[in-house]
């Protein structure tokens, strides 16, 4: 593998981690969705580059799915939901920006330490990719727990899935079954979530999960 291949792949995967950090401190839903679209865009570029480097044309399909569904369809649809629900105001965060960013840095360091240590036998491209992918997954998880709003938790979950796609494409020659399944699962997840959001709206006029969380442990 030539050096430039490696560098570009590295750059794109690293950018994905960076965009994950951008997501962490967004406090408006619209901005968050735009950043998510950017996240998906970087993912699409990264997957396409992997397809080119690995000479694996089926990965272009995955890149296309990321581009069309994740970067365009889902953000647009969520935009509409937000408008319809009238919740484009600020996002309530459980944790402030500072601690969240620090925790994020810690998680990235953790994933580097874990993944680089265990994968020294794998080829360098795959191992750095995996380390970045784990960072994106962990940052997605962090976002899910630092947000109260249902829509931003969903965005956190979707960026987590982006990390999984990055990992799957980094693993050279992984069968297509899995990539398609990931794309499908995002779609299904989105449908499910859509239904949920509408039901929640219908019943309680809120998508703030904290209001949903009225009952802790045993009710009544």
């Amino acid at each position: 593998m030539s050096n430039i291949d490696f560098d570009v792949a590295h750059l794109l995967a690293g950018s994905l981690v960076l965009v994950s950090f951008l997501q962490l401190y967004q406090d408006r839903l619209y901005a968050l969705l735009n950043i998510y679209a950017l996240h998906a865009l970087v993912l699409a570029a990264s997957v396409a580059w992997q397809a080119f480097v690995q000479d694996a044309p089926h990965l272009y399909v995955t890149a296309l799915i990321a581009l069309v569904f994740k970067a365009i369809v889902i953000p647009v649809a969520l935009h509409r939901i937000i408008v319809r629900l009238g919740i484009h105001r600020e996002i309530e965060k459980v944790v402030g920006v500072g601690p969240a960013m620090l925790a994020g840095i810690g998680l990235v360091a953790l994933s580097m330490v874990v993944m680089l240590r265990v994968t020294h036998e794998a080829d360098p491209l795959a191992r750095e990719d995996l380390a970045f992918a784990l960072s994106v997954v962990l940052l997605g998880l962090l976002m899910m727990i630092t947000r109260r709003n249902a829509v931003s938790q969903v965005v956190g979950f979707m960026s987590l899935e982006n990390g999984l796609v990055l990992a799957a494409t980094g693993a050279k020659g992984m069968p297509l079954v899995v990539e398609i399944s990931i794309a499908f699962s995002v779609l299904i997840a989105f449908i499910v979530i859509g239904i949920f959001l509408f039901r929640i709206r219908e019943r309680f006029d809120t998508v703030d999960v904290q209001v949903l969380d009225r009952f802790r442990g045993d009710r009544r």
Binding site: R117, A150, F157, V177, L212
Partner: protein, 484 residues
């Protein structure tokens, strides 16, 4: 197998019957027909599953059948079948009182079959990617079913289940990718590196460090679906707020399917000498779940939540037994899993009717059930006696085996185990006393229950506790040997 000149593949039957039934049930509007069709489809699936024990198709890159998943499939389809009988009477009552409307019942029946399809697919999958997809499908289906009543609590439960379940599933996928990464240098690129039977044959050459990390992700991911503490938060809500047949299927089956996935990866780890031993991790999580859930049983006020925590307790015992490993502990774990599935679903059948009669799930509003509804009341008592692990029922025997095999190897762990079981037992009887005896409380209307599934399960559990046929013992011993 060839019947009447037509070649018949039972694996296809186990997968196609639920798939076709799901499509049919989604199209047919009349609920009396669809409830029967649901029963018929699950009965056919069960027949196919039993025939799998006799004719075994060759494994291919996607599907595999061995003694281990054969056992799981027969259990899954059997409980699926009996639950569909219970479900028919349960749903007709829900329609009568207007908690569900016909369109939702249609949706419910279709989803029931999709769930059966997904669980069977997860069990027969030879490809670890396919297994993951199937478990994800099962999760999404149950999320929809849990939220079907659309009450505030049901939506909260479904949302919580969805978020926690998805995170678990995502972690499991990351683990699956790591297993592929570990296999790729040895097996080569492509499909083969995700085929479980190939992986296990060549696991000894995999990079142990990578496998270790993969297993931790898989344990956390699928462990969330098993309901192991501290990853169990979704489980009580999902059980309490969904329709009771779904609680029965969740407790009795879906938790087992997730555990099955974990066992497959445990076998993979065991095949690699350099890899971390998965046993101690599973033992720790199992004991933690057991003791935690046993104490949580005391403060439950909702009857379905009570038995949901009891499921966490028992999944803890089962995970503990498999974590200990060895022929005897594996045997005990398998037996306990079977007995728990049968007993817990029987209890939920009883609880479903009790909650319908009383119009509430609050334990404080129930009382004197043995006076007002003797059959239901005594059925519930028998179920709780069984689940608490009293002789002569089947769970006593399996718990006894778990404890005695542990005493021989790690007495200290056995003490914790016995402590947890006893704490749980006391809590269950404390609650049962209020429900079954004393002043009758709440409505005492007649119940249109189908007792057959409940007593069928309890009879099997009773018989198994008194006398296990040697053929069955040999079968379980054989499967326990496979698990290593």
């Amino acid at each position: 197998m060839t019947i009447a000149g037509v070649t018949f593949n039972p694996i296809a039957g186990v997968l196609l019957i639920p798939a076709i039934a799901a499509a049919l049930l989604a199209l047919l509007p009349a609920y009396r027909v669809t409830a029967r069709l649901n029963v018929l489809a699950t009965a056919l699936t069960f027949t196919c599953a039993v025939s799998l024990l006799f004719s075994r198709p060759q494994p291919n890159a996607y599907l595999l059948l061995d003694d281990l998943n054969g056992t799981f499939i027969v259990l899954t389809t059997f409980v699926g079948f009996t639950t569909s009988i219970f479900s028919a009477s349960y749903i007709s009552h829900e329609l009568d009182v207007g908690r569900l409307t016909p369109p939702f019942v249609r949706f419910y029946h279709a989803m029931y079959q999709v769930l059966m399809f997904a669980m069977n697919l997860a069990l027969v999958a030879n490809n670890i990617g396919l297994m993951w997809v199937a478990i994800e499908l099962a999760t999404l289906t149950t999320v929809l079913m849990v939220g079907i009543y659309r009450t505030h609590e049901a939506l909260e439960a479904a949302w919580k289940y969805f978020i926690l379940g998805s995170v678990g599933i995502a972690l499991a996928l990351f683990g699956t990718i790591l297993v592929y990464m570990a296999a790729r240098p040895v097996v080569g690129e492509g499909l083969d590196a995700m085929v479980w039977s190939v992986l296990v044959a060549r696991a000894s050459a995999f990079d142990p460090a990578l496998l270790d990390v993969a297993f931790v992700f898989l344990l956390l991911g699928y462990g969330t679906k098993v309901g192991l503490a501290p990853l169990h938060a979704w489980l009580p809500d999902a059980h309490a707020e969904g329709p009771t047949p779904i609680s029965a299927v969740l407790s009795g089956l879906l938790l087992n399917v997730a555990l099955y996935a974990l066992l497959r990866f445990k076998m993979l780890m065991a095949a690699n000498a350099g890899a971390l031993a998965p046993g101690p991790l599973m033992v720790t999580l199992g004991l933690l779940s057991l003791v935690f859930a046993a104490f949580m049983l005391y403060r439950r006020r909702d009857i379905k939540r009570l038995f949901a925590y009891s499921s966490i307790e028992h999944m803890g015992i089962i995970t503990f037994a498999f974590g200990m490993g060895g022929p005897l502990a594996n045997f005990a774990g398998l037996l306990h899993m079977t007995m728990h599935s049968l007993t817990k679903s029987a209890i939920f059948f009883a609880v479903g009717h009790v909650a319908q009669v009383k119009g509430t799930q609050r334990i404080a509003d129930m009382g004197g059930l043995t006076e007002t509804h003797p059959v239901l009341g005594w059925g519930l008592i028998l179920g709780v006696v069984a689940i608490a692990g009293l002789p002569p029922l089947g769970i006593f025997m399996s718990e006894f085996l778990v404890v005695s095999s542990t005493f021989a190897r790690a007495p200290l762990l056995a003490l914790i185990l016995v402590f947890g079981i006893l704490v749980g037992l006391a809590a269950l009887f404390l609650r049962l006393n209020g429900i079954a005896f004393g002043e009758p409380k709440g409505p005492t209307g007649k119940v249109e229950a189908s007792y057959v599934p409940m007593f069928a399960h309890l009879t099997i559990v009773l018989v198994a506790g008194v006398y296990m046929p040697p053929a069955l013992v040999a079968w379980f011993q054989n499967v326990a040997g496979l698990l290593g």
